[in-house]
């Protein structure tokens, strides 16, 4: 499995990402792995659970920014919608939307995990 396969699974345009990283695949790989350490998804879910909408908004916003930078088009779309839903700081977002983000994140993280494991094999 290579990086291109990984992007196919998680839903993103690898060529575009590679171009932004000046065609340095090792850089793209390095930052993909770093995504697995990113705390914003965990913080988002925890804040939603605790009904801390302000914190949830910031976490969603961060996750969106990171997804943008890494070219995770699918995750970026759902988390972007969630960010807007949370922007007012009052309303609870719909369960369906939260579920979509959960699913997209899971797909993304699993794809990256698989990429990492395929290298270490």
């Amino acid at each position: 499995m290579d990086v291109r396969d990984c992007y196919r699974i998680l839903g993103g345009d690898y060529d575009e990402v590679l171009a932004r990283f000046c065609n340095r695949e090792e850089l793209a790989r390095k930052f993909l792995y770093k995504f697995l350490d990113d705390q914003s998804y965990g913080l988002l879910m925890e804040s939603l659970h605790e009904q801390n909408m302000e914190e949830a908004f910031r976490a969603a916003h961060t996750l969106k920014g990171v997804s943008q930078n890494l070219g995770f088009d699918r995750l970026q779309k759902s988390v972007g919608e969630l960010t807007e839903a949370l922007r007012s700081g009052k309303e609870r977002p719909s369960d369906a939307l939260v579920e979509q983000v959960r699913e997209d994140y899971k797909t993304t993280a699993e794809a990256i995990q698989m990429l990492r494991e395929s290298v270490s094999d």
């Binding site: 932004r20 990283f21 930052f31 961060t62 943008q68 930078n69």
Partner: protein, 363 residues
């Protein structure tokens, strides 16, 4: 040389990407929220070439950082680029009002970010250097200006010294007693200040008034060229003698022309005018040139009234003193000299001051 870049973003991954992009050319320091950023700015603001700033962050957001930078006056020296996803027009406007230079949109594209950062750093470096240069030049100019002022002051003193020396010559020759010269100066000052206030059309200001007053001390300098037998004659002069006496106006202006190269033009001009024209009459029947109206320089017109008034209220070898009351009416009625209506108006306005000064010297 500012060679550090401060990256402020709450996502470590974003900070890492920017560090990767800029780390080769700059020393990158990072902050994960506004509080950390403000702390780092406090320590390093003078070394920072640029600040890359995220807006939405925990603890303190990007606007808190901008507010702090503005308060401390760091925005002028350090460019700020806002890192953002998509921002609303309103947010962008607010950022620009803080003096933010530009926006870096997500996703980050390595070479574009590098170029953008380099551009803005270059611009600010140029601007900072220019500002420094201007400041240095301003300082140098200010020094030169103060030097010039000292020189001008010296020159003014030297000009005044010449007047004083010449005044002493007049006094020493016993042409006039020192009291007369001082009183004429005093009367001239009263009248000139009133004229400056009431009739701006003469273009007088405090400097010009000061000069006229100083120069009035020399109005009779030509009398040093009049022989004693005429000048000090204790009786009425013959018509020939009187004609000769009148030449003190032209002789005085000629004496002063000899000095023209050693003092400022306006000193020469003013003293010359006063000497030559202080016996002209507004109706054209004075001497030596028979000038009339405002063709007579205003300096000479002023000294003329002062001189006549003082002659009237003083005792002379050939006459006793008139009372202040009589002197006032003789001048206002045109019985003694003919003067400009505007000057007479000033004279009427300042009657009290004239009389107080006359009393002061009498006692």
């Amino acid at each position: 040389m500012r060679n550090r870049v401060l990256v402020v973003d709450d996502a470590e991954l974003n900070r890492e990407i920017l560090k990767e992009i800029l780390g080769q050319e700059y020393q990158v320091i990072t902050a994960a929220d506004g509080v950390e950023a403000i702390e780092l700015l406090g320590r390093h603001h003078a070394e920072l070439a640029v600040v890359l700033l995220d807006l939405i962050m925990p603890k303190a957001d990007g606007f808190a950082v901008l507010e702090e930078m503005r308060k401390k006056g760091w925005m002028e020296k350090t460019p700020v680029l806002i890192i953002s996803g998509e921002t609303s027009a309103e947010t962008e406007k607010k950022c620009f009002e803080y003096g933010v230079s530009d926006f870096i949109k997500k996703p980050f594209a390595n070479d574009i970010i590098k170029k953008r950062v380099n551009n803005i750093i270059g611009l600010f470096q140029y601007q900072n250097e220019l500002e420094e240069k201007v400041q240095k030049q301003t300082l140098a100019l200010r020094k030169q200006y103060s030097l010039l002022q000292i020189q001008a002051e010296k020159l003014r003193k030297s000009n005044e010294n010449i007047i004083e020396i010449l005044g002493n010559v007049v006094e020493y020759r016993n042409v006039e007693n020192g009291q007369h010269i001082r009183r004429v100066k005093g009367f001239t000052a009263i009248l000139a200040k009133e004229l400056m206030k009431e009739y701006p059309e003469y273009g007088l200001d405090e400097k010009k008034v000061e000069l006229i007053v100083a120069a009035s001390a020399l109005h009779d300098i030509g009398k040093i060229a009049i022989p004693d037998k005429i000048l000090l004659k204790p009786a009425k002069l013959t018509p020939e003698e009187f004609e000769y006496m009148k030449s003190h106006t032209t002789r005085g202006s000629e004496i002063l022309d000899n000095f023209s190269h050693i003092w400022d033009e306006d000193y020469h001009k003013t003293t010359h005018e006063i000497c030559r024209y202080h016996h002209e009459r507004y109706d054209g029947r004075g001497y030596p040139d028979g000038l009339s109206g405002d063709a007579i320089p205003i300096s000479a017109q002023l000294v003329s009234i002062a001189d006549v008034y003082d002659a009237l209220v003083s005792e002379r070898v050939y006459k006793s003193a008139y009372s202040k009351e009589e002197a006032f009416h003789m001048i206002v009625s045109g019985e003694c000299g003919v003067f400009s209506p505007k000057l007479l108006e000033c004279f009427r306005n300042t009657r009290k001051q004239f009389e107080e000064l006359a009393d002061k010297y009498k006692s």
